[in-house]
């Protein structure tokens, strides 16, 4: 019964469409309703109001969370203020112990957290499992190490904590952004009030359970859920001494304006429109992987996403061919499936924003490419998208889309690449692909971006500072720089 080559190829196409491989969700218990985490306990909100959080892949309600009003936020900040004195004066090695304990608990509950993150936010399970959760644990572990070495970290200074930190985080990496904010704050001896994003509050509620499990002293971490209103209450509260915000440039500007003259310390990590620059001597197949990782990772919901591809004209054609072929192999669908590469768009509002910007690209004359891709009927989805024939002046080349949409531009010389890359109001990250070491350094000196990746993209580590130039914000998170932001060093 010999199979002919043609039959065999047909068979490969039919059968080797990987069978579904869903991550088990049996071990995850999502409560029907969550309170606010204030003073070490989950409490009913004063507002008596709740709002639903849905799974963007199915549009089904997962749970209800509390909407914190002014009284709730005030209670949270007061609890944090009350806890501050004893937390700041706790033996630093004891503070470290709590951070290590939290890190361990995140690792122990990693599978649960990954599933919650994926269900609430729409990101593929392979990303929450391999990136979000391990990096979150790593952040607590890293900053736990600094807690009793502050004097060594900043020699000849007198590092002192600031007080209550008010922190507002986005929906693209819910637990990871929580870790970026909370870990350095606690290590430095501050207490926190954190407001998770409206569409992705659930992993923060699991984190509240972890704080209780770790027997963290009450009030050291407080979590208030709600929409933008709640966030502005946290930021504006007079008891807050330090504000850290990650989110849109628009909201960042509002916060900066409202804090003027208050004496509160502020760090902002805002939008981006990163250039991923590929030179003609680049290792092309790896560059293609880097481009894909740069813009399609987490459906492009990444502030440092490489959303502008600058490719040297001499290799534009073979690179585009390789990139288009690779796009065809991306697997879009159930975020809980272990083989899914592209999950669901986080919310309907975000989907509409992406659709609007893509339409503007078409209207302005860019050429659209999307691989053949069946979108599920329910939920919010957008196929991986590539625009060629893009000019610097098009909206898709200037505005942050925050979706799986790549704009391709070409350049002729390194100088032109730098000029085009820097020609944006943003400056969060950039990528350089070349085999020539000296050119990497030459480019890195000239690119006005907080992070420049060489022959890689979207690589994160707790030891490495991260932050932007210009409208991408200021201040750094991660590494010693991230620690300094939570200390009075004068």
């Amino acid at each position: 019964m010999a199979i002919t080559k043609k039959q065999s190829t047909e068979l490969a196409k039919q059968v080797f469409e990987y069978a579904p491989a869903p991550e088990s969700i049996d071990h995850v218990k999502i409560q029907p309703r969550y309170g606010l985490f204030i003073n070490g306990k989950l409490v009913e909100p004063h507002s008596k109001k709740h709002f639903p959080t849905i799974n963007p892949a199915t549009e089904k309600k997962l749970a209800e969370v509390s909407e914190a009003d002014e009284v709730d936020v005030d209670r949270a900040v007061k609890a944090a203020g009350k806890a501050f004195d004893s937390w700041a004066h706790l033996a630093p090695s004891r503070r470290a112990r709590y951070l290590f304990r939290i890190s361990r608990l995140i690792q122990e509950r990693a599978r649960e957290l990954a599933v919650v993150e994926t269900m609430d936010g729409g990101k593929p399970i392979k990303e929450s499992r391999d990136v979000d959760i391990p990096l979150s644990a790593a952040h607590f572990f890293y900053y736990g190490g600094w807690a009793d070495k502050l004097e060594w970290a900043f020699p000849n200074r007198r590092p002192r904590p600031l007080g209550v930190a008010g922190q507002v985080i986005p929906w693209n990496f819910p637990l990871l952004m929580l870790a970026w904010k909370i870990a350095p704050a606690l290590a430095a001896g501050n207490t926190v009030v954190l407001k998770p994003a409206e569409t992705t509050p659930l992993s923060a509620m699991v984190f509240a359970e972890i704080c209780m499990q770790a027997e963290l002293p009450p009030g050291v971490v407080n979590i208030v859920t709600g929409a933008g209103k709640t966030g502005s209450l946290v930021v504006a509260h007079p008891g807050v001494k330090k504000v850290a915000f990650t989110g849109s440039t628009e909201v960042g500007k509002l916060i900066q304006r409202s804090l003027a003259g208050t004496g509160k310390k502020l760090t902002l990590e805002l939008g981006g429109k990163a250039a991923n620059i590929v030179f003609e001597d680049a290792p092309l197949d790896q560059a293609v992987e880097g481009i894909v990782n740069g813009i399609y990772f987490n459906q492009g919901h990444v502030c440092c996403a490489g959303s502008r591809l600058l490719v040297q004209e001499s290799i534009a054609e073979p690179l585009m061919e390789k990139l288009k072929r690779r796009l065809g192999t991306l697997r879009l669908g159930d975020p809980l499936d272990k083989n899914t590469d592209i999950g669901a768009i986080n919310s309907r509002a975000q989907l509409e924003k992406i659709q609007g910007l893509v339409q503007s690209g078409l209207d302005e004359g860019a050429e659209l490419y999307q691989p053949e891709c069946v979108l599920p009927e329910r939920g919010f989805w957008f196929p991986p998208t590539l625009f060629t024939n893009v000019s610097q002046s098009y909206r898709i080349a200037r505005e942050e889309i925050f979706g799986p949409v790549l704009s391709v531009l070409t350049f002729r010389t390194p100088a032109e690449a730098v000029e085009k890359a820097n020609n944006t109001p943003y400056g969060l990250s950039a990528g350089v692909w070349t085999d020539k070491g000296s050119r990497i350094l030459w480019m890195a000196e000239r690119l006005r971006a907080g992070v420049v990746w060489a022959n890689t993209f979207n690589r994160f580590d707790p030891t490495s500072p991260f932050g932007g130039y210009k409208e991408s914000g200021y201040g750094r998170e991660g590494g010693l720089h991230g620690l300094a932001a939570y200390l009075d060093l004068n």
Binding site: M1, A2, I3, K5, S8, T9, L11, A12, K13, V15, F16, E17, Y18, A19, P20, A21, K126, D130, D281, P283, L284, D285, Q286, A287, E289, G290, P318, E321, T329, K338, N339, D435, N455, T456
Partner: protein, 308 residues
């Protein structure tokens, strides 16, 4: 044939023009593909394909007619009493055992593959390599697995390596030529890519990772680099070239990882014994065991699988 090779005097400069490979990126890509989760129907199909693409191999100084006879029987009918298990693609042996294999494979679709050209080191005279190839084909080998001269390659004498592959290809006649790069001795992915392009330009029908006599043998990233070279070569020339991974592939899980790599790099067209082979001596029983497990839901004792 040699005279018509257009790039003859320029092989060296051609080789310097071969695009580089980023090691970190290649390792990462291979690792991410190894995490694909292959279940149920896909897994059964993949295991079946692994058997159909297998070059069941014995390459020992102690190989005897009896050993080869047993291996041939196993290759034709891997699981006695279960006709749903297909035959393997080929039996791979030393030249001295070709006659035994031809005799025991007669009437089956299983092909005879022989290593040649002073396997495994390739450190001998070109005339002997050519003679060995010709004799092997005459003795009935359908496929020749040659080794490149790594000494010459590492010394930068690409011309010599190229000419030898061209000459051996000519000596093969109608037999298929697989060119073993012995990637474990080449040191870098850049060199692997260069050797892949060189072998394909010289006429290889397949490029193959390893002899199995050197560590490391086949790895996923090395295979990825070779498959990407094939993809680029096909784009330039239109001639499909096959890929064979050999050495150290012992478990079904590994075999499936190679199939995933193949599927996502070269596509479904390559998922056939005509363009893909797994060279292995001990993999087959693990695959059979996994097929049984997928079908019945339970693992059988190793005693239910014949040791040949």
């Amino acid at each position: 044939m040699v005279a018509t090779a257009l790039s003859l005097t320029h092989i060296g400069s051609l080789m310097r023009g071969v695009r580089s490979v980023d090691e970190v990126g290649a390792d990462e890509r291979a690792a991410s593909l190894a995490k694909r989760s292959i279940k149920k129907a896909s897994k059964l199909w993949a295991l079946d394909l692994a058997v159909r693409c297998m070059d069941l191999t014995t390459l020992e100084g102690s190989d005897t007619p009896g050993k080869v006879a047993a291996l041939c029987a196993k290759g034709i009918r891997p699981k006695p009493g279960d006709p749903t298990i297909p035959s393997v693609a080929a039996i791979c042996i030393y030249p001295a055992r070709i006659a035994d294999a031809v005799e025991h494979l007669r009437g089956s679709h299983v092909r005879v593959a022989s290593v040649a050209t002073a396997f495994p080191s390739g450190q001998s005279f070109t005339s002997i390599k050519i003679a060995e190839t010709e004799d092997s084909v005459r003795a009935g080998a359908n496929e020749i697995d040659m080794v490149i001269d790594r000494g010459a390659f590492l010394a930068g004498d690409y011309q010599r390596v190229y000419d030898e592959v061209v000459a051996v290809k000519e000596a093969c006649g109608n037999a298929h030529l697989k060119v073993i790069l012995e990637t474990g001795e080449l040191g870098t992915y850049d060199a692997v890519r260069r050797a892949s392009i060189l072998a394909m330009a010289a006429g290889a029908d397949f490029i193959k990772t390893s002899t199995g006599k050197v560590q490391p043998a086949a790895t996923l990233p090395v295979s990825l680099v070779m498959m990407e070279a094939i993809r680029d070569f096909v784009r330039e020339t239109g001639r499909p070239v096959g890929f064979k991974a050999a050495g150290g592939i012992r478990t079904s899980k590994q075999a499936i990882a190679y199939l995933v790599l193949l599927y996502e790099t070269l596509g479904a067209d390559w998922m056939t014994p005509d363009l893909f082979r797994l060279g292995a001596s001990t993999l087959l029983n693990d695959v059979l065991m996994q097929i049984d497990k997928e079908r019945s839901g339970v693992y059988q004792s190793p005693d239910y699988f014949t040791i040949d």
